[in-house]
Amino acid sequence: MAKSIVQEFTKGLWSEIPPFRLVLGLCPTLAVTKSVENGIGMGLATTFVLVCSNILVSSLRKVIPSKVRIACFIVVIATFVTVVELLMQAFTYPLFLKLGIFIPLIVVNCIVLGRSEAFASKNPVVPSTADGLGIGLGFTLSLGALGAVREILGNGTVLGMDVFGPSFEPFTFMVEAPGAFIGLGLMLCVMNLVGSK
């Protein structure tokens, strides 16, 4: 039993890591990864919503009628998104301002709804928590990695620290909209190369 919980946790970190293996939740991935800090902040907010909604959905799984389950899941998720937004407004205000409208858009992040539907509604509370935590942390890692690539190339910095020195000419392209698409496309390609070995 203990082993399977560890498995539920670690699958989110590699074998089902979103958004590379599970191509879901691309909107926040592309929109907020202008810097490492934004990416990780968004990832942690999503993790919070994912874990809380997984816990609540799996503890209510016998009560929720299957015909209206999607509506119930989405109300649960929207509630936790409101909670996380108020928390961020209170404690991490600068990050709240940077992420802006993408915090409420966690409601329609397919990863969160997907995990409720595919996992939490069929499994007990403890594995669902592990699943939410694993997928959430995997998502945070991916956003951090994409954010790092875009911040290093587009700005020459990591977490605000200079890495290349003053002579570096930044690719402004990478922090603009097209850079997000191309950066994620190249990362998907690298993941395919690594995975196919």
Partner: protein, 255 residues
């Protein structure tokens, strides 16, 4: 009156082309990648999104103005039944907005689904699972949230958006989504005949094509301020916009 019409026109143009929902704000990427295999399906999806987004904008504008925002008439009346008028004026229900919007969206999607199934069965078959998934299309919630921020977040009540501006933003955004997804479907139909390197197959090459498309759409940057200047020589009194387009400068790629 004229300045209002120009304002509406610019909101539509900005939402559809300049700050395209898909290629500038990155909302609605899931259907953009998932349903862009054939032009006909992509066009059907775009039309369904335009329809849902306008209904959702209509509902969310009405609910925000009359129920959710601080000092909304219906809420004040209801709260006044069992509160002092001073306490009733302070009731702020905006915290409920996400739940209300998502309910409005999912019920309008349900409505569209029944309508399409009854009157356009082939389109219903082609869209398949993506039709109910319009509920989780961020473009629609995004439009509702932008409209909310233009009503609730403004200091001067006269600057708050009316229904016409809200609907124009929603329809413009929907048209922008349709343009982007149809162009993408056209490119992908051609791409099927090409020899794509193995690791790039699937989502990776789609995203890279989307990046090049986004690069193309960046060319529209600044068109709105030019149009505004051309149509209104005197300084504009009304400057409501989706968001001021940032300066161009990312177009030149340093290698």
């Amino acid at each position: 009156m004229l300045s209002y019409l120009i304002d509406i026109f610019l909101i539509g143009i900005v939402a559809a082309l300049i700050n395209n929902f898909v290629l500038y704000y990155f909302v609605g990427i899931c259907p953009f990648v998932g349903v862009s295999r054939k032009i006909s399906t992509a066009f059907g999806m775009g039309c369904a999104v335009i329809f849902v987004i306008s209904i959702a904008a209509l509902i969310s504008w009405t609910i925000t103005t009359y129920v959710l925002m601080p000092g909304a008439p219906l809420t004040q009346w209801a709260a006044g039944l069992f509160m002092t008028p001073e306490a009733a004026a302070g009731v702020d229900l905006t915290v409920l907005s996400y739940i209300v919007y998502i309910f409005a969206i999912s019920s309008s999607v349900q409505f569209v689904e029944m309508y399409v199934r009854k009157f356009f069965p082939p389109l219903y078959k082609a869209l398949g699972v993506y039709l109910p998934l319009i509920t989780t299309n961020c473009a629609i919630l995004f439009a509702c949230l932008v409209i909310m921020s233009k009503i609730v977040g403004v200091d001067n009540p006269a600057d708050a958006w009316d229904l016409g501006r809200g609907l124009t933003l929603a329809v413009g955004g929907g048209i922008g989504f349709t343009i982007a997804i149809v162009i993408m479907a056209g490119i992908r139909e051609e791409l099927d005949l090409c020899d794509v390197p193995k690791p790039f197959e699937g989502a990776a090459i789609t995203l890279i094509v989307a990046g090049i498309l986004a690069l193309g759409f960046m060319g529209f940057t600044g068109v709105d301020s030019g149009l505004r200047k051309a149509m209104m020589p005197e300084p504009a009194a009304v400057t409501a916009q989706v968001q001021a387009a940032p300066e161009a400068g990312g177009g030149d790629v340093h290698n």
